[in-house]
Symmetry: C2
Subunit: 400 residues, 2 copies
């Protein structure tokens, strides 16, 4: 048996080791800041909001502090969604609701935000932990589930309806998902709840993307037009089974997240003008913009109801105000009925299919689906001419 | 004195605590991946390069693996530079040289990348630590100094010249600095070394930004035109002294970093087309592009030498190739001599100064300096008409 002296010496060594470990830890934790009760514009190194409050002094934003009252739901915490959540967190948003059912993998390390040691953790849990550390003033609510199942969809609707800081509806829903079903679920929920949302997407080949603001009844919903906008953005799960995956780049995803959050800030804080559709084509640095009116014969009954409500509301407004507002809010380009999207095809496919674009599209914008050149005469030629054409085109697209 | 039993019990408790601490640590460190010797396209969750190698399969990039051979120098590791370095790291760049003399502060937390626990650390050290953790395959070299002092400038030149993976010159220099002197230092070094670089900038009011590719002798250098491009991007140090600071947003900075790295990837890996000047105006989502020819009477003697060399090189080329290449590489817009920049002023200032823009500018593009409306007749009217006008305008601007 050891002598008392030896035991005491051993205790001393162990205590030293333990103290050292604790000291190392404290470097990481002690410097993390406390919650801040109100945003200050004071220019000191220790103020995390000085550079944001400067937006007020410079006349860009009238009341920057108002950002603390807003709640935003981010659906999909992947390459676009995680950066979106980080930007909003650093801007000092009041509350974030995060939805995702996926886990962090090393295969996600080619985009911003997640780090290798988080591999295996759920994306929402890993994100909330990092974001809370970056800005403890933001409130987080996380849901590690797929919103498209019946049960989860009801719960998702419920959180959109009552999830804000004051227990009321959220201020905005941001779609950062990677598949058609999830986008349709968000669309269905937002039409029913009369909730404004912004859709975002990045093409399968990683070199183009877009954002699209959906105001139920006022702009085209996701069901109004054939689902061309995200047609080639195939679900990762399906791709992986075949041993291939979509490409992705931190650049394109960071830019799309930047556009999404910049327009979110403009919408919430009321500065600049919100862009209803903004595309990004990386190969040529091309940025198409446009706006789409809703489809009066949309499949979604709530969309049709919102359109009716919007028309009634507009009719009640004094004539002059109505005119001014409409002009300010949506720029109706020539292709009111053009179902269009920034090309998700390669440059070559684009060139090959040039003779086939639907007339009335914004220059440089083509359909996501490009039919092989050999098939029969393009039938979409009448799109611009009658309301029926959209239905015809939808039928065509569905039969593809 | 304690009994032997008590001492042994205490040892057991300490050992348990220590084991626990070590276990907690191992969660953080064990899952971090080892270096990878060659990039694989295999689609498995554990492959950090599968989504990048997919760019090859999809026909976007011919040889993605080549990215491992490149070295990029990033000068300025702030809001744009840190995100730039992170994007390149996640893309698997061969080597990064990081230059900055600043420390991380809580006041930087409104942009992406740095986290609160890094406050007080040097930006280059904090960045290299995080980036090495994210991707251990990338090699890092950091310099915690101001490149504008005589001694450091020589060392900076030396690293640009010999800092690559093979001890040769770097492949690209990216300027992410926030002041005029640092940009001029990079310009001077790159003209002397005949080194391609890309300048980037974000306006003081946080809602606009740009990137500009400088190819010595081929496109305008930073000294060719009056320094309007970054005129309103005042050095932080000066601003802070007066108790005010420039505004900044994670969105604008993330987007500018995205544009910078996307064009870096296009330049290094040879896909798409590199955009020589790309502006971003957040309030309206407006993206002006243009190209500027170098100034034959530029103040920088090395710039004039590079212009001479470029002309001689071009003259030696067979006529046809020359024509095709020129058309492909630079789109000479109408304003060959227009000194122009995306507006860094407020919407109101812009409207007020509308009558004063220099003729020949791309639509929507104005000068960074807007003279008060009451001063004498604008003297820059002749810019488009003769080579002399640029000199005159420079003199005017200098006297402001």
């Amino acid at each position: 048996m050891s002598s008392v002296e030896e035991l005491i010496a051993k205790i001393k060594i162990l205590e030293d080791q333990l103290r050292q470990k604790k000291e190392n830890e404290s470097v990481e934790t002690v410097t993390v800041r406390d919650k801040i009760t109100s945003m200050s514009a004071e220019v000191v190194d220790s103020n995390p909001y000085s550079r944001l409050m400067a937006l007020k002094r410079m006349g860009i934003v009238e009341n920057y502090e108002k950002i603390r009252e807003f709640t935003v739901a981010v659906v999909g915490i992947g390459g676009v969604g995680s950066v979106t959540a980080e930007m909003l967190t650093r801007c000092g948003i009041g509350k974030l609701l995060l939805f995702d059912y996926d886990k962090v993998e090393l295969a996600n390390m080619n985009r911003l935000f997640f780090q290798p040691h988080q591999a295996g953790m759920s994306k929402v849990e890993a994100a909330a932990k990092t974001l809370n550390f970056i800005n403890p003033d933001v409130e987080f609510e996380t849901y590690n589930y797929n919103i498209t199942t019946v049960e989860n969809f009801q719960h998702f609707m419920d959180r959109v309806k009552y999830g804000s800081l004051k227990g009321k509806r959220v201020d905005l829903v941001l779609s950062c998902v990677d598949n058609f079903e999830a986008r349709m679920a968000i669309n269905t929920a937002c039409n029913e709840l009369n909730q404004v949302w912004i859709e975002s997407g990045v093409s399968e080949n990683a070199v183009s993307g877009h954002i699209q603001v959906v105001i139920p009844g006022e702009t085209a919903c996701f069901a109004c037009a054939p689902p061309l906008v995200v047609a080639s953005n195939i679900d990762e799960k399906t791709l992986k089974k075949e041993g291939v995956c979509a490409a992705s780049l931190p650049t394109t995803m960071g830019i799309v997240a930047g556009f999404l959050v910049q327009n979110t800030l403009k919408y919430l804080l009321g500065f600049g003008s919100v862009t209803y559709y903004l595309g990004y084509s990386a190969l040529q640095d091309f940025f198409p913009t446009m706006a789409m009116k809703p489809n009066p014969i949309c499949d979604d009954s709530y969309c049709r109801l919102r359109q009716k409500e919007f028309k009634e509301k507009e009719a009640l407004k004094p004539k002059e105000t109505l005119k001014a507002k409409e002009e300010e809010k949506i720029v109706h380009e020539e292709n009111d009925w053009g179902i269009s999207v920034i090309s998700e095809t390669t440059e070559e496919e684009l060139r090959m299919s040039e003779g086939e674009t639907v007339p009335g599209l914004v220059e440089g914008v083509t359909l996501a689906y490009t039919k092989p050149a050999s098939t029969q005469e393009p039938q979409g030629e009448s799109v611009q001419e009658s309301n029926q054409s959209l239905e015809e085109l939808m039928a065509q697209m569905k039969s593809l």
